[in-house]
């Protein structure tokens, strides 16, 4: 038993390294109170080291610790996305004026950030309902604290409180769903549940409804994490109230964890093990359950509500919050397809989304740091005041709206391709129309930056070399992957294998 665990622990090294990082950050914060760079440095080094350890896991496909956590290509991919986002956010945070002016020590901030990352990484690998719940809670609790970290303002407290209450409600619902699922199947292990689900379904009647309700309740937890409509109400307030670094982190990494967990849950638990596989990569959901329709409805709601609401937003953070709700909707389209092609499309989208969304948030953060405003009216004339930044932000927004030759287009293309290939034409049309709506509000920002001028403010905004590099580091992939996306596609397609599923 002990040797078995040691062997498992070897595959758990990235998470262990990250835990050590958290502890080191907390201790270092106590010792080096004066030196600002120590804790971020430790966390950054820890994240990068973890990243390398994750890279070392490529090719393995096992479940460790009594099948609690799967270490497979799929998990590795999402862990890398999460870590990359976290590294970027740590760098953002170090340069953020907003965080410095809070007058608070930032040691715990970085430690909590690392803890949130740990939670999300566990989400990416969790192969057991209990583990899923724990991972969700770990990342959520860290996120609650981070989102209310700096500001003492009333609206920020309100946002934080809203986050906690919605989080508690959603995780409560999810826990309830898990308990019903456990009651019906006698197991928390996804693969085991998969064996028993057909029995439950063939029993028909109330157990079947029980399964359905359990699934819906569990989806509430996932929906909350990926901020899909109708579980999204917390997102705009939290995104607006939280420090912008955390907003960016929540919009990308947290969503990645949520999606990884959702996909694994749907795929491993509900694929039809008895069905005849038409070809590798296609799989059928167990008959009798219309999960797919449920996800499709969530997707349509998220896209449409997110986009239509975003049109009316004047605060950039809020606008991006609604846009990220809409993006959750786009990605759910890929999940609804329920085959490897759709999942690969979602995974591809995530990497692209990482660059363009973090880029947009970073540009908004830099502008807010310099002008002190996130209001769309204060973006007037930025095209001439800060040409580089304005052009960069414009490109990020255009990429978010999915126009070529940016990477966002490739992401959308893959999602639509997966849909059309499976015959989901109506959903593809809804998604396509939504991207037209989305363009309208992204262009509002661009319009204010370039087409309008602000008479009062005309002083140029300057960027430091570091900030410029950071913007470029996010901008180059956003453009490059729009023109040359082969390797990215290859990576996503190769990482689609999930342990315990066909």
């Amino acid at each position: 038993m002990a040797s078995h665990m040691l062997k498992d622990a070897a595959l758990f090294l990235p998470e262990i390294a990250l835990t050590v990082t958290i502890l080191a950050a907390i201790v270092a914060d106590l010792i080096f109170r004066r030196v600002r760079a120590v804790v971020p440095g430790i966390v950054l080094a820890g994240l990068i080291a973890t990243g390398f350890l994750v890279l070392g896991q490529q090719g393995s496909s096992v479940a460790i610790f009594s099948s609690m956590i799967a270490v497979d290509a799929f998990a590795v991919y999402f862990k890398l996305v999460i870590l990359l986002a976290a590294v970027v956010v740590v760098v953002f945070s170090f340069g953020s004026a907003e965080l410095q002016t809070g007058g608070r020590k930032l040691g715990e901030y970085y430690a909590l950030l690392a803890a949130a990352v740990l939670g999300m990484m566990l989400m990416a690998g969790a192969n057991n309902l209990l583990m899923m719940y724990l991972a969700l809670e770990l990342s959520s609790i860290s996120s609650y604290l981070l989102s209310g970290y700096t500001r003492e303002a009333a609206d920020s407290s309100e946002a934080s409180l809203k986050y906690v209450i919605y989080g508690a409600l959603s995780s409560g619902l999810m826990l309830y769903g898990i308990s019903i699922l456990y009651g019906l199947t006698g197991s928390l292990d996804l693969a085991t549940i998969n064996h028993i689900v057909p029995v439950v379904i063939s029993a028909g009647g109330p157990p079947l409804y029980g399964l359905l309700i359990a699934g819906i309740l569990t989806l509430a937890g996932f929906g909350y994490k990926i901020s899909a409509v109708p579980f999204h109400f917390w997102a705009p307030d939290v995104y607006e109230g939280a420090p912008i670094t955390i907003t960016a982190f929540l919009a990308v990494a947290s969503k990645a964890g949520g999606f990884a967990m959702l996909i694994r849950f749907l795929k491993v638990t509900f694929f039809d093990a008895t069905g005849v596989m038409a070809a590798a990569g296609t799989w059928e959901a167990v008959r009798g359950l219309r999960w797919v329709d449920l996800v499709a409805i969530l997707s349509v709601l998220s896209m449409t509500v997110g986009n239509l609401t975003a049109i009316w937003q004047n605060n950039l953070k809020r606008l991006l919050a609604y846009s990220s709700i809409a993006h959750a909707g786009y990605m759910l389209m890929g999940v609804a397809v329920l085959n490897d092609e759709g999942i690969a499309a979602v995974m591809l989208y995530f990497v692209i989304y990482l660059f363009m969304n973090l880029g947009a948030f970073y540009a908004v953060m830099l502008i807010a740091d310099k002008t002190g405003s996130e209001d769309i009216d204060d973006y007037k004339g930025l095209g001439s005041r800060a040409p580089f930044l304005a052009v960069a932000l414009a490109i990020f927004l255009i990429s978010l709206s999915g126009l070529p030759p940016t990477a966002g287009f490739i992401g959308k293309l893959y999602l639509f391709a997966a849909l059309i290939n499976k015959g989901w034409i109506w959903l593809a049309i809804v998604g396509a129309l939504n991207s037209v709506i989305a363009l309208y509000y992204y262009v509002r920002v661009i319009r204010n930056m370039f087409l309008r001028t602000d008479e009062q403010q005309s002083a140029p905004l300057s960027l430091s070399g570091m900030q410029m590099t950071m913007v470029l580091a996010l901008l180059v992939p956003t453009l490059l992957f729009g023109l040359y996306f082969g390797p990215l596609v290859q990576l996503a397609q190769a990482s689609v294998r999930i342990f315990g599923a066909p």
């Binding site: 197991s187 028993i196 439950v200 029993a203 009647g205 109330p206 157990p207």
Partner: protein, 170 residues
Amino acid sequence: MTAESLAFFFLAAFAVSTAILMVLQRNPVMSAICMIGTFFSLAGLYLLLHAQLLAVLQVVIYTGAIMVLVLFVIMLLNLGDEARLRERYDLAMGVGTVLAAGFVVELFFILFYSGDPALRASMDPRAAALGTVEGMGGALFGRFVLPFEMTSVLLLVAVVGAVVLAKRKG
């Protein structure tokens, strides 16, 4: 009706009614005391499930430690009666009530009728032995070692968070 099911229904009714009372009470101290009642009946339910350790832990930790802490805080802060938050009954509330009621009915329907023998047979046979100290320990440090360890990280984060929140007041 066996003595066991009699005990179950008694405890269950007690748990639910004290829980409702806890929410309805205006006085925080009374609420806390009602909550203790719920915890006790839950402990009783655990006993019925042969989960002796869990029952004891329930009493020791929740009823003993946590509730004392809660009461202590309430008295320390000298909280008065809770002010009414909302008197209005608007449409959303009405719809919400109907939906919630429907959901409860649905759940009852399912839970009462899902006694399929095939499903019972699929239950983990180890479940029955889980309630003992030995079974619990074995599970925690065997199968569930990872969740157990991760819970400790979760608690660590909670502690750090508590410190962060406490510091902001100062």
